[in-house]
Amino acid sequence: MRAPGPAIASLSSFLLATALSLTVLADPAASTAIVQRDAVEVSPAKGIRIDLVDIDNRLGDVRIEGHDRETISIVAVKRAPDQETMERLKVSLVPDPSGPVTITTSLRAGQEARPIPAGSVRIDLVVLAPRRARVRAQVWKGHVEVKGVDNGADLTTDDGDIDVTAVSGAVTTQSGHGRHTFAQIFGAVEARSVEGDMSLDLVRGERLDAMVNHGDVIARRIRVRDLSVRIMRGNVRLDGEAMPGGHYAVASYWGNVEVRFSGRAPLRVLARARSGQVSLPQRFRRRRGEGGLVTGYAGGGRLPAELDLRTRVGMITVADF
């Protein structure tokens, strides 16, 4: 770990509780590789709450877990081809007196002209943060995992999977390539992926907004009032509970749309499959319009849930429970 800079030095309120550094040789096959494990625990001064943990690691994976303490524990596992390069791998921790804590990693410029072999440097971070803190993580080619926090998360990776489990609050994820997996989310979800599938299981909140360019979206046990799933090329399979007055827009340009909604709310469906078929359960009163448009209505009540389903090339299926 880098020695605390001026920002931390001026902050006597933060205490570096433990610091452990262990250097070991990696597996015998890669005899020149060095693995170093650093562990640090940071306690805020009395009266200060860590309300944001902001992590920027472009050198590896990030895993964040919420815990019931006020401290932040960081374990950094660094890999380098030699000791000289290892000393250039830095983890910086900068706590702000107002609450946020920033953790960044870097590979410092070296004096030697010899290039570092490709794929030989890496820093993986495991961070235990107070549950109430919002977490933010940005990685480059790596996996981001967040578990058990209560104030939401903002997660970005250029290429890697994103896993979010047991999180309350607003969650935003974005990636260029990689799979997004959400489980047990209680809050709004906004997910963006250029390439990669999305899987959502048990999402409860006001809004779920997912957009994928290439990939499938499979969502189950969804209960939100406002849902938007947009895919350029890929299939959607969604099952959830429709809420009275809720709006559910599911669209794929090239792909099948299959939805199944339970709940007591009456359902008003507007489905448009320009080059495919629309299939509604028997109980729907339906009407066919131009351009593959099918409207349908099922159930009684004044406040229907609106289903807006579209595909340009594909099938639309509304399944019954």
């Binding site: 472009r58 080619k141 250029d158 250029v194 290439h214 350029m232 099948n256 495919g276 090339v313």
Partner: protein
Amino acid sequence: MTRCGDVDRLVTAYVDGELDDQRSSAVRGHLRVCTRCAERVEDEARVRELAADLEPIDPPQAMWRAIDARLADAEIGDSHRSTLSLTVRRWLDGARRNLLPLGVGAAAVAVLLVLLRPGGTEGGDGSVRSRAALAPAGSREPVVGAGAPVGPGCAAARSHEEQVLCQMHESDKRYLDAIGELHGAIAEERATWSAADAARFDSAVARLDRAAEIERVRLAGSVGTGGPAARDPLHAIYREKIELLTSAVVTGDLAFASTPGGGR
């Protein structure tokens, strides 16, 4: 000591921002004392600027319609396939992805065989599933730092610096491919838009293109690659553009185009 001959050799990489810090600094030092080389670099930069201003040439609409029709046929065909057939295809796709690093040699042989077959650019079932087939010929936007080694996982890169450069190049390309594909779909969809909607949409796209261009110039002019973090603003613009285009293509939602910064 850097000489005029060195600058002649490095001028392209220098203007593209591909030189490492030391070499870049050495070239800059030489340019301070050598008017001839300074003019040479200025000329090179001007040519790049002019090339960037050229209007992209779109393929004829008939070509897009033909591609679109074949994609539609192929995908409708897929939707009629049996579950077993789809499972086998999915398994094959998965195997292809997972075995990619090991199968480069085999793929080269396969490509050779396919090229030797008449009409061998399609799958055996006539389907066209390649994303490249959808993207316009040639990206509308240049890739900053082009020239880095490319390939699956940037496996060809030998040094860390080279690998990161390659990864940034691949990352840019991924965004630009997605944007290119969406532009292709937009070309089909906009026939159904009103003139006012189309103008508003074009204006929103132009705003993002200008912002992206400014970022690309900034990146090209910065010393060294700046690492992946330097790409964050450019990628944010690409993501915003993807969001705008996707909303227009997938849901026909052009209201999104009227909001600077989109809906995010």
